[in-house]
Amino acid sequence: MIERDVVIIGAGPAGLACAVKLKEIGVSDVLLVEREKKLGGILNQCIHDGFGLHNFKESLTGPEYIERYVERLKKFNIDVLSDTMVVNLFQDKSMILSGPWGRERIRAKAIVLAMGCRERTAGAIGLAGSRPAGIYTAGVAQRLMNIDNYMVGNEVVILGSGDVGLIMARRLTLEGARVLMVLEKLPYSSGLPRNIVQCLEDYGIPLYLKTTVTKVYGKARVEGVEYVSLDDDGKPIPGSERFVKCDTLLLSVGLIPENELSREAGVEIHPITGGPIVNDTYQTNIDGVFAAGNVLHVHDLADWASMEGELVAEFAKRYLEGELSKAKRWIDVKAGKGIRYVLPHKISGERDVNFLFRVDSPYKNRYIIVRDKDRVIKKRRVINLHPAVMENINVKSEEMKGIESLEVMVE
């Protein structure tokens, strides 16, 4: 069986950045596996701009962002196996690869999981009504339009105000479809504020908060939807049902880290993030199996996914060199009041950690506190906190000396 030092599964923003970084820091035996013909993952269909503001200090479109990495990939002559699916992943870090070239089992000393995420579907949200054609997840519609040159419909209702949904509202409008409304069951949008402005407000597309679709009409093709206002507990308000005629329903109702392979290999999955449970070296419960990008937790920016890939490259290198000493003990990081989740999930206390977290609802003028029981380790004032935006707070190893527990919270 062929054995490689590092195999990266998935060549999206995280996997690409990880591959480039590994080469930069001197790891020569790297294999990047990608199931599509083109590298870049979902960014190939994200033709809008707003990528790269952190990593390249300019606003790039998705394809341009990818191009930057692919150029460096070529420069470093990195081994890429595209058009190849990892069909099975095993605990011993072997895997079965399959593609038009054939099928083969290989093994890796270290694996970086960078498979990204998938979209939540109509079935998963318990959408009522019939199952006509014309119900698309926003990402699928994006691909069908931007890559395959199809129009998915003429009169569109969008359920869910995630970023992909907002971007698609603008995209469809520019291409001549009528986007009638965007419905969001929460009292706030789960998309970035800038997308609300430039994708909805610019085009006069109404966003109805605390509203959801209760029924889809149409047997063959969508003929309309019934929508309803929700009360503070998220329950439909009787009598508030309204009907809108449309031929297309786009769903932007969340992303789920794609961890079927990880599960198969025995990687433990976190119930909130849907991604692997990792320690402060971004290692999962399986030694030498790392995770980065949306497979670990859904990021709001591709830049962060790439940065995570680069960070993991450093840890993977040290793992290969045998320098990633096992921690004496692992301290579970607790997501305290106001926090939905924090990453990494376990820390040794021996290394600096940049904690990444998301809040559970919007807050204004609060403190982010990192503490060990009553001892405040770090405190930072924040003007705006929003569930759609990933936040971070840096803690140095000196600051964590002697801690017994660790909690991140909003106050």
């Binding site: 399959s98 009522a128 990402g139 699928v140 998915v152 093709r221 599960r263």
Partner: protein, 488 residues
Amino acid sequence: MFDVGIVGGGAVGSAIAYELSRFRLKIAVFEKEPDVCFGASGRNSGVLHAGFYYRPGSLKAKLCVEGNKKMREWFKLLKVPFKATGKVLLAFDEDEVKELYKLKEIGDANGVEGLEVIRGRDKVNQICPGAGEAIACLYSPMTGIFSSYLLTIALAETAHQNGVKYFLNCKIVDVRKENGTFKLKDQRGERYECRWLINSAGVYSAEFSKIVGVNGYKIYPCRGEYLLLDKALAPLLKMPIYPVPSKEVGGALGVHITPTVEGPILIGPSAEYIDDPEGYESTPEIMNKLFEEGYKLWPYFKKSDVIRSFSGIRAKPVPPGEKSFFDFVIKEEESIPNFINLVGIESPGLTSAPAIARMVREIIERKEKLLIKEDFEPRYLRGERFEELSEEEKERRAKEDPKWGEIICRCEKITKREIIEAIENPLSAKTLASIKYRARAMMGRCQGGYCMPKIIEILEREFGYKPEDFQLHKEGSWLFSGRMRKDD
């Protein structure tokens, strides 16, 4: 002129076509949908019933027990995924235990093998891990699970391979009998002729019977909704778990939890009389109810495990509130010779399909001698599952043909070759659902999020589909309103 015309290409219609294709007969199947498993045949629990629910001596009892045996042969010949799981009915109090004994008695009288009432929580949980607080169960070893839509497709395609002609998108709207010949007309005005006419129109059987000239039947559509749970839960459920049957809706078996051969777990069906024979909807009330009732029987899942909901429609011959037993109607109508009517074929119609087909054959044989076709091929020559091959074989094949290496559906690991085989199906069914049912793509966790655009690309590049050619399932279920950038 056909010897036999079969109206309705579902599991029963296609079973009849398959059975009759053994003989030297010219056979036609008329199916109003673009494919053969869009009705009840693709929308049910996929359970091979043992036959202990039905009144001894009834057609339902006899045909179910006979079908249960015959079906096992068919599964092998037709490569239909089947698991002999057995099944349990759980009783939670003494009244329900009494019902179990009653059912066992009925089952014994019907000739169902191996029925056993098991008492005591521990013993029940031994037979069926996860049975929880049940104090007793009726264990039925002859019950199993199978893929009902793959059965229907295999029957239809094998019948086709043996010379049966399938007319899809073909709704027979007018029938006249002249000089011993049935003259049929479809919705487009196309005409067909046959000597024997068989009504296996399922939920439309009463309506079609009327078209032929036999009044007096009525079908009451009764919707059953289902939830589908992620297959990650599959290891926790060994066999179908049923409650003691409800007395509310005549003959409905109650909400049960069933493993499927594909892995996902089914909860359902509900039972609700509706007007629309094709009202395939999911409703918020029933989805909640299924969740709750299912949870009572088997508390091992959560809301986020639900990957999909769907519904099917039972062809009930009894109106709401009617609790007495109604049997299948399977007979040659005296008023119209050579017209064989099949009405009210609800559960256990699927399990009974081979026996129903045998009965129909015998009805024909009473009048004429059927000659065996020497070159009849009983086996389904397609439908191989790449994922079920050994790893060595997979590697060998992937080397042989790049299309066996290229994985299109990541959730179910379906290869490009299997997708293409499904597209090139002998019935020429052209919808995306036809590919989904045959290749099992677009059915997993992501519900086509990954593979649907890839399948569209294959259809466009290798089969020349234009934007307007793409159809999800029913006629009119267009996918695209056109090109985003037009070529002219």
